[in-house]
Amino acid sequence: MTSLTDRALETLPDGVVDWITESGRPQWQDDLLLIGGIVLATYVLFAAIGLLFGVGANSIVGTLQQITFFAAVYALTALALNLHWGYTGLFNIGVAGFMAVGAYTMAILTAAPDGSPPGLGLPMIVGVVGGMIAAALVGFVAALPALRVRADYFAIVTLGLSEIIRRALLSRSLQEFDVAGYTLGTGGGSGIRAPSTGVVANYLLYGSADRSSDSTVLGDLLFNLGIRESIVVNGVYTLVLIAFVVAFYLLLTRIAYSPFGRVLKAIREDELAARSLGKNTNRTKIKVFMLGCGLMGLAGILWQGSRTLVSPNNFMPIVTFYIFVALIVGGSGSNTGSVIGGFVFAAFLYEGPRFLRTIVRANFDVRSPPTIYDAFVDLGSGDPTALVGYAIGSLDEIRFIFIGVVLILFMIWRPDGLLGHRKEIAAATDLSRRPAATDGGEADE
């Protein structure tokens, strides 16, 4: 029996994924092991690189905390998207729009009534629930036209919808408006300031929204680890997010392994045939679309709502594409894949390059020449650092190129994502034949 770490490390090379999934353990244990292994290996990798280049321990922990935060939010959104696309075949590329509806509704409900724009000043929990409901309702309204059109138009309609939402939020016309005697608003391009969902961490650590109070038992425990307080506070919020990831995962996996999930798959495969078998596919699609949108709204709340500013430019279409990259990297159609994809995307495509840049900037004296022309001129005169400096200076652009190339390579070489093609059987029970008594086989129930 090998140790857990050994096994986790073994999962790194390609192909071992298959080994794990084919072993005799139940699927969920394998999946947990797989996720844990990948996360652990990544942590070790980042920590090793950081230590090698003299990055302080707190900085490394901080970086890992941020990676985990983004991993969690991408996992949340990828899971919700997987319900739409992976299971039901609804190619929704308006995810950012539904996240915006969730986050904005929460902000409007909870923002201070004397703020600019004013809000309703309701408690956080009302905001969170209200945001989810609003996102689901917008999903309902969107579903009516969107589900009528051809599959490939559906994509463009949902993208259009998310742009309608974003532009409306950006517009000056809705900056402030009156509803039933209350003045509310979206704040236009300035966005809206509202309490952050991050206060959950304060409650857990200090027992109140305010960080000046005495710490709780949990707080005492964590603050004595020698990690900077700011990291602990954010880390606890990230843990809350992880709890939501687990909840999403369980909920969606339950759906997947149920007759409801089977109908979703049938819709994905051949809707008319499903209808001819007596399945009310329209109602099912609307339900699942609303559920997914509600989850996207919640993800938006947990993600963008953890800042005190909710602004329209955080909901650009690129955010949707990021989520798609995460889902594709992991493997659409698989909840485990969604989680792994979210993590890999956050660690290697999203935060990784920034980490690299910080290290390079801290350790090497690279100046970024103003243009690539100057960099090449310097190169021509025997100084390659200018080109390196330019590359570091253009890291954001290079990161986009990298993401694009990864997407292309996955489509060509591994369209089913890292996990490979996993066809999970949608049934609430084991479908193999109950062994007849005369078979002499083991009873499985």
């Binding site: 149920s258 007759p259 409801f260 045939a273 499903a274 209808r275 049934a427 034949r433």
Partner: protein
């Protein structure tokens, strides 16, 4: 999938059956009255009226483009008729959604088999039963009531296996439906349709492209099922099948019923020979 359609003249549905109704309604399970369906300028079904008797195998034949598949589509709610009505089991079902009609016990198969390719044969089968508890979103995820779901799944699994045994495709149960051969897909589709426990089955060219020896087996199954009380309406171009296996035959031509009766009568009907069978049958 739906096209620009005009409002059906619902007044028509109340019109009493006209003189073309051949038999008493007591034994009939399906009744079409003056069904009409137009696509743009083409009138695919043009006032078709007929009845299908309970417990029979009825054949629906006619030249290409006579409107047979369109009639099926109108009966099963895939298309909405422009006029006329469909009565199934004493209930008016005109204009209902396909799933509503299927739930009432009228289930169809397609001219080209439509399996769910990325689901296993058994999953395909498990999809069929009606009134599945777990098809409610809440029930499928709520911990306590989920045990009912699991229990029901167990029962359905038993029935699905029995049906696969009956059609002798149980060895393919864990195969993805997309990997089956054409004939096996036809069997799967039929088995799946039966698992919905329908009153009546509409089969659109079940034998087309099926190898003759397989065809024989399929027909045997259909007869066995008829004995169990199912009703069949089948579209078929293979006259051997029609003549040897259908009690009653309806002939469509240019969207309306040209003739109907027992097989022998049809075979010798001048109009039918002229329009459909050609000289030397």
């Amino acid at each position: 999938m739906s096209d620009v359609e005009t409002e059906p003249q619902s007044a028509d549905s109340a019109r009493p059956t006209d003189e073309s109704t051949p038999r008493s309604t007591g034994a009939s399970i399906l009744e079409l009255r003056n069904l009409e369906k137009r696509f743009g300028g083409i009138t695919a079904v043009d006032g078709a009226s007929f009845e299908v008797e309970r417990g029979t195998i009825t054949g629906l034949i006619g030249p290409n483009g006579a409107g047979k598949s369109t009639t099926f589509n109108c009966i099963t709610g895939v298309h909405e008729p422009n006029a006329g009505s469909v009565v199934f089991d004493g209930e008016e079902i005109t204009g209902l959604e396909p799933h509503q009609i299927a739930t009432r016990g009228l289930v169809r198969t397609f001219q080209i088999a439509r399996e769910f390719p990325e689901m296993t044969v058994l999953e395909n089968m498990m999809l069929a039963p009606k009134a599945q508890l777990g098809e409610s979103l809440w029930r499928s995820v709520t911990p306590i009531v989920r045990s009912d779901v699991v229990e029901q799944e167990g029962e359905m699994r038993e029935r699905a296996w029995e049906m696969l045994d009956f059609f002798e495709i149980d060895h393919l149960a864990h195969e993805y439906a997309g990997n089956l051969s054409g004939g096996q897909r036809k069997l799967l589709e039929l088995a799946r349709a039966l698992l919905t426990e329908p009153e009546m089955l509409l089969l659109d060219e079940p034998m087309a492209g099926v190898n003759p020896s397989l065809e024989k087996k399929l027909l045997e199954h259909i007869h066995e099922l008829q004995e169990q009380g199912y009703t069949f309406l089948l579209v078929e171009h293979d006259m051997d099948v029609i003549m040897n296996h259908c009690e009653h035959v309806i002939v469509m031509h240019q969207g309306s019923v040209l003739a109907e009766g027992v097989a022998e009568e049809i075979q010798s009907n001048e109009a039918v020979i002229e329009a459909y069978l050609g000289g030397d049958v």
